[in-house]
């Protein structure tokens, strides 16, 4: 279909040249400038705050780093990061379409309850036990997000509003169902514990009894699938086009309503996985002490990682490091809330830095185009003058 001439010119270019052409050094450096700059700025800002409070910033940071090196807290950090990552991926699927799924919180807690309940009822089933739990979690998450998607598509209800409300409903619904279907253990109510076939074994890490959740592989797989679907498939292209310019997407044949619904369902499906690493790897039962707030952390991490599969992984690790290593600060008399301040400052400065870099990059690119084209009109103009 394409012209024969074009094929010839492209083939002469080696793979390395092509890489260099597609990812010029300047654009790589620009890409790194925002996150690195933001983290440095956050370090600076927290140093100022610490100094004002009469603490030594270097002592605080070295304490945090040392804490991270301890095997037990390292494992803890990895586990937390993988949960954050799943949550961030769920949020970013919506972000790609300009959908703000604030409801990951409610979606994952209901999904975790559903998986715990169904998993607890099942006995045996071999490897399918875990598969069924995962499917239940994804379906429940997708269904809960789908409510918001349907409302948006049919009634034009903003998904921001509906998912916030659905979060509140999920809390109530979750504890109602827990009371109805759970069993009491001590003064806590929980679902029937999942038997061994429905558990996911952890990975050992030398120097500690704590295990890295086996769900690590699922989190990685989700990341790869996310990268592949959004970056390589026709479906992903339609999502991207809709996010960048909805009107143009409509004109080019994208059924935006259907895409909205599908994106919400996918986002909810991934959100359903958020509670599973802990449930299947450690607690084996759902109770009201299950970790909360993961959905909101996911929003921050998706923003920090700019919806990029790798970026969000790094952001999740950073977030988890800050959160976990701060535990140690109490022991040296520094309020651990400094970590939350750092998280906030990093997020805010990343968002600002990215916007600055984005604008700077556009200006540079326009300059490039202008410079490249200036050569052509200049000669043409000269000809016109002499003619």
């Amino acid at each position: 279909m394409s012209g024969p001439g074009a094929t010839g010119t492209v083939n002469r270019v080696g793979p390395l040249d092509r890489l260099r052409q597609r990812y010029p050094l300047r654009s790589v450096l620009l890409g790194l400038a925002a996150p690195v700059g933001a983290v440095l700025f956050a370090l600076l800002a927290s140093s100022v705050i610490l100094s004002l409070g009469g603490h030594s910033p270097s002592h605080v940071f070295s304490t945090m780093l040392k804490q991270a090196e301890r095997p037990t807290s390292f494992v803890d950090m990895v586990n937390q990061a993988m949960v954050y990552y799943l949550s961030a991926v769920a949020v970013s699927i919506g972000f790609r379409m300009n959908l703000f799924n604030i409801g990951v919180e409610g979606q994952y807690s209901l999904a975790a309850f559903g998986a715990a309940y169904v998993g607890g009822q099942l006995t045996g089933g071999g490897p399918f036990h875990v598969v069924i739990e995962v499917l239940v979690a994804m379906l429940v998450g997708a269904a809960w997000a789908g409510v918001a998607g349907l409302l948006k598509v049919t009634r034009g209800v903003s998904e921001v509003i509906s998912t916030i409300m659905l979060n509140a409903i999920a809390v109530g619904l979750g504890s109602y169902l827990l009371h109805k279907l759970g069993q009491s253990s001590g003064n806590n109510i929980q679902t029937k514990p999942i038997s061994a076939s429905g558990q996911v074994a952890g990975l050992s890490y030398s120097g500690t009894q704590a295990k890295i959740f086996g769900f690590l592989f699922v989190a990685i797989a989700v990341g790869v699938a996310y990268w592949f679907i959004t970056g390589r498939t026709r479906f992903g292209f339609r999502i991207k086009a809709t996010g960048l310019n909805e009107q143009a997407a409509v004109a080019s044949g994208v059924n935006v309503k259907r895409m909205t619904l599908v994106a919400m369902l996918m986002s909810g499906g991934v959100a359903g996985l958020v509670g599973l690493p802990e449930l299947l790897g450690q607690t084996h039962t759902f109770s009201q002490t299950a970790q909360s707030g993961l959905g909101f952390a996911g929003i921050a991490i998706a923003l920090l990682g700019r919806n990029s599969p790798v970026g969000m992984a790094l952001a999740a690790v950073l977030w988890s490091f800050l959160g976990k290593s701060a535990n140690q600060l109490d022991f040296i008399g520094v309020p651990r809330e400094i970590a939350a301040i750092m998280q906030g400052v990093i997020l805010l400065s990343v968002v600002i830095a990215y916007e600055l870099v984005r604008r700077y990059r556009l200006v540079l690119q326009q300059k490039d185009v202008a410079a490249q084209l200036a050569a052509v009109p200049a000669t043409a103009a000269n000809q016109a003058v002499t003619a």
Binding site: A241, N245, Q247, A251, L362, V369
Partner: protein, 522 residues
């Protein structure tokens, strides 16, 4: 005959006569065109036209005169005194007013409210509409604007809206009016009314800077003409001794293209057949009323009409973007009335939307991804369920080469390109994959003469190989030159049929307003 076109040199009229003077303005700008050493002298009480192709740097110049941008070098003098504007309010304070091409009016406000918006008169802290009304009535009478202060703007036509914009500027005390492409949205008789208004403003001692690329209009209204090409002032011209053609050649710097497509390629094979197409807007108003027409292979079917008479709705209905109330659409004998936009595209409809940036491009995505936009279901962009990146990139290279898209590469974002090059990319994309029908809505709006000629060429070539084209354009010369047959649309219905071989732009313009009959009617 004296030389009609002079280069810009010293020896311009005495400074005291000049309302505004631009001396050696240079603006380096991260866009495609910068201003370099621009010199303009505008005599007080005249209409001074600034002509140039799109992208020649007219807008940048105007933005500097209106304080929206600052020049890097050079000087602007108003009434002989150097000025430096850092915002439009500085410009307004110095008596410079701008009438934008796109009206900035609130529909649900009255004329009065729109005019005072932003500089509301107050008396002891309360709004004082009485004083404003007196002032507007007086302005309207002095300058013959014929405005009724208490009418809602939504009830006004385009010409009246423009007069409201002018009144808005006058109300703020402007003595120098900048009009940016004021005739782009007007039909011929409205243009004449506007020019009458401009003459009255001039007679009252106001100075008008008139930006346009419609040369016959410029010649009829202007007292002086300055030509800008590639960011530089290349000459001044006396409208009484210059022909549009001479002006155009000065503007372009070379021989002019023309939109003629006289060789007949119309076959008798019907590609698109529309029967009884009716579209209603929300609220039940009929925006397309029982339209029926056929377009044959090799035929360019032109639709003339004042904007807002159903053209956009027709295009969107044909693309399956807008639901229809009644009627059928048949493409190559296949009923596509209920087919989705995606499947219509797959069936071979190419679509050049009227607003390329809003409907035709992903501005922040690279060119090759823009190649895939709207074609993410067909070769060479796909490999099963995946995007064939290599194939799409290769084909983008082809479009860039064949359609002369001026760009350093296919990885730059679409917004880095100038409008004409963006449009060439879209045209190249929509003519790819051998479409059977091309729906082209304002295909050359806002592109420079060179790109316009290239786009015409490509459409013509595709027509010769059997493409059916629905052409909607506000450029009547383009419409007459390109089309094999023309229909005039008015309030959602075809009101006349014109033969492009015999009709003139004036007659067509009259028919568009429902005023005249079409003399060249077939």
């Amino acid at each position: 005959m004296p030389q009609p076109v002079q280069p810009v040199t010293a020896g311009t009229p005495a400074t005291s006569e000049l309302a505004i003077e631009v001396l050696g303005i240079t603006k380096r700008f991260p866009g495609v065109v910068a201003n370099a050493d621009v010199n303009i002298a505008v005599r007080r009480g005249t209409v001074h036209a600034i002509v140039g192709e799109n992208g020649a740097g007219k807008s940048t110049l105007m933005k500097m005169l209106y304080g929206m941008q600052r020049p890097d070098e050079g000087e602007i003098r108003i009434d002989g005194k150097p000025v430096s504007f850092s915002s439009p309010s500085d410009a307004i304070a110095a008596g410079v007013g701008m009438v934008h091409q796109h009206f900035m009016l609130a529909d649900n406000f009255t004329v009065l409210e729109n005019i005072v918006l932003g500089s509301e008169p107050t008396a002891r802290g309360a709004l004082d509409f009485g004083a404003a009304r007196r002032r507007i009535t007086e302005l309207s009478r002095t300058y013959g604007l014929g405005l009724n202060p208490d009418v809602l703007v939504e009830h006004l036509g385009v010409g009246d809206r423009q007069r409201v914009e002018i009144a808005k500027v006058l109300y703020r005390g402007a003595r120098l009016l900048i009009l940016d492409e004021p005739t782009a949205v007007l039909v011929p008789h409205e243009v004449e009314e506007l020019f009458q208004n401009l003459r009255e403003l001039k007679n009252e001692g106001l100075t008008i800077l008139f930006i346009s690329h419609k040369l016959d209009e410029v010649i009829s209204v202007a007292d002086d003409i300055t030509v800008i090409r590639r960011g530089r002032t290349v000459g001044t011209a006396n409208p009484h001794s210059t022909t549009p053609r001479q002006l155009a050649e000065l503007m372009v710097g070379s021989e002019l293209p023309s939109p003629e497509t006289r060789s007949d390629t119309v076959s008798d094979r019907t590609v698109l057949s529309v029967r009884g197409l009716t579209v209603t807007a929300e609220g039940g108003r009929t925006v397309l009323d029982d339209l029926s027409f056929d377009i044959h292979a090799g035929e360019i079917f032109g639709i003339a009409g004042v904007e807002g008479n159903g053209q956009s709705e027709l295009v969107e209905a044909l693309m399956g973007i807008r639901p229809i109330a009644a009627g059928t659409v048949t493409l190559n004998a296949r009923d596509i009335t209920a087919t989705s936009t995606r499947n219509r595209r797959l069936a071979g409809i190419g679509y050049i939307p009227e607003d390329r940036q809003r409907q035709g491009l992903l501005l922040e995505a690279p060119l090759w991804e823009n190649r895939v936009l709207g074609h993410s279901d067909s070769a060479p962009n796909i490999k099963g369920p995946l995007i064939d990146r290599a194939g799409a990139r290769r084909d983008t290279e082809r479009i860039v080469a064949e359609f002369d898209v001026r760009t350093p590469g296919i990885d730059v974002p679409a917004l880095a390109l100038s409008g004409g090059n963006q449009q060439k990319l879209i045209v190249g994309r929509e003519l790819s994959g051998e479409p059977v029908l091309l729906i082209a809505s304002q295909p050359t709006r806002g592109v420079d003469v060179g790109a316009q000629a290239a786009i015409w060429d490509h459409v013509r070539r595709a027509r010769a190989s059997g493409l059916a084209v629905l052409l909607i354009s506000a450029d009547l010369e383009e419409l007459i030159g390109m089309s094999d047959s023309i229909r005039v649309i008015l309030r959602g219905a075809f009101v006349a049929e014109a033969d492009p071989a015999t009709i003139t732009a004036e007659d067509l313009g009259a028919a568009m307003t429902g005023a005249g009959t079409v003399s060249g009617a077939a």
